[in-house]
Symmetry: C2
Subunit: 186 residues, 2 copies
Amino acid sequence: MDVKEFFELSAGKWFSHRTSHHLAFKQSEDGKSDITIEMLAKDDPEVIKLCQQYEVDPALANCGARVNWNGTMEWDEEKHTGSTVLVTVPDTDNPSQGKLLREMGYAEKTPVAGSYVMGDDGALTLTTEYETMSSEERLWFPSPNLRMRVSVLKRFGGFSMASFTSEIRMGGLKPTAETSSQTTAS
Amino acid sequence: MDVKEFFELSAGKWFSHRTSHHLAFKQSEDGKSDITIEMLAKDDPEVIKLCQQYEVDPALANCGARVNWNGTMEWDEEKHTGSTVLVTVPDTDNPSQGKLLREMGYAEKTPVAGSYVMGDDGALTLTTEYETMSSEERLWFPSPNLRMRVSVLKRFGGFSMASFTSEIRMGGLKPTAETSSQTTAS
């Protein structure tokens, strides 16, 4: 599986259940979201715009997606809704790894490019280094309708949080043939 | 890292925090345990006894450990304490994988040998096939003092539960030199 196939398999609606372990406090926090992931063409205006923000030649991008979420966290009562755009830019000498561009959130002042590595085992690893912290997330599919993620957050050199997310595809089983081609849908 | 080094790095006392996602019910359940893992020599009577129960030549075993736990689950108030012995028996043609023998619990009538695969990425994967279910668990070390595990349980062909466990070594940082040799301790 290459990163584009991973994105294609991720496309759709998911029920996402995240549990974060706050390591220093030995406490956990649950969050539940409905997530929609939509593939974007390489020449989609949103993909081109994001590349330009990061000063990356849009012709080098190989994959884009828009992610929408709508959920609640356990520790507050507020609704968490949001949306972001992701774009992958493979290394020219090794397309199984490269840069991950992400639309900036409210809290970020400058764009921070992460990196991705698509493993031989079908797991995608995303790493982002911020000024005082870094995050590493591993995503994989136990089955086409079950996606899992584990992430660890390091602050000032020490691990502060570990999160686990199980994501179930909504709308029942997705036929296997659909996972690699959208043209088979009737 | 080979499986023996993985067991050696696992030896010690751990605070273990497990969250299980019951996929069909979209519910999670927390459990917390203190765990002690103690390496056993290949010729330890407990290792030899377990091999004999599984009708495996004890000379083929390369690694043994005793695991003790003492914890509580969120959904009942009972104390969960227990102990088991694990023994790895590598395949003769490929020592990075093999059988995993485990002392039987109360609920099991016949010994069920699992299998292990030690990955190039330092993660240990354990698979056990029961009559009506199967479990796969992946264990790895983000750092020598932080161990993580993700397991999925399949019943009658469908995924029923996913669990995430973060484990923090108790008693503070372990010097790196100790992880590969016990002789450096003063």
